[in-house]
Symmetry: C2
Subunit: 80 residues, 2 copies
């Protein structure tokens, strides 16, 4: 498995869910208590995401961390 | 949610599963392609774990990242 693919798919998933909830990057960053640049980098798959941050991202996207990860696994399997 | 609790429960979960599979810390580190000290720190909840590493840990524990995370969510809910 190419690990950069994980970050890319994670970023796409975050961006999609955030857009679906109609939350701006700025607002979302504020909710997660991180800088907007960091959210931007995560969404483009450029930044490593820690499990701690994952829990915070999921909470603010009205989902659970395991659901987020499951979605990523599914997308990665489809790509294989 | 206290985020240190996430790392602590993650560490305990990794250690438990590794022990159940009868894999030494040294061997497990080798399998995950990281240093043994890093595994030791993860298992004690002292080290941040990235989502990329989580995928590698899960794979080498014969489980999926989402299953690992689900187990952590369950344990955190029980503690609340």
């Amino acid at each position: 498995m190419i690990s950069n693919a994980i970050l890319k798919v994670l970023g796409e998933t975050i961006r999609q869910r955030r857009s679906d909830l109609n939350i701006s990057q700025e607002k979302f960053a504020e909710m997660c208590n991180v800088h907007r640049t960091y959210i931007s980098q995560i969404e483009r798959g450029l930044k490593s995401v820690s499990v701690k941050i994952l829990f915070s991202l999921a909470e603010n996207l009205n989902t659970t961390p395991s659901e987020l990860i499951k979605e990523i696994e599914k997308k990665l399997n489809e790509k294989e």
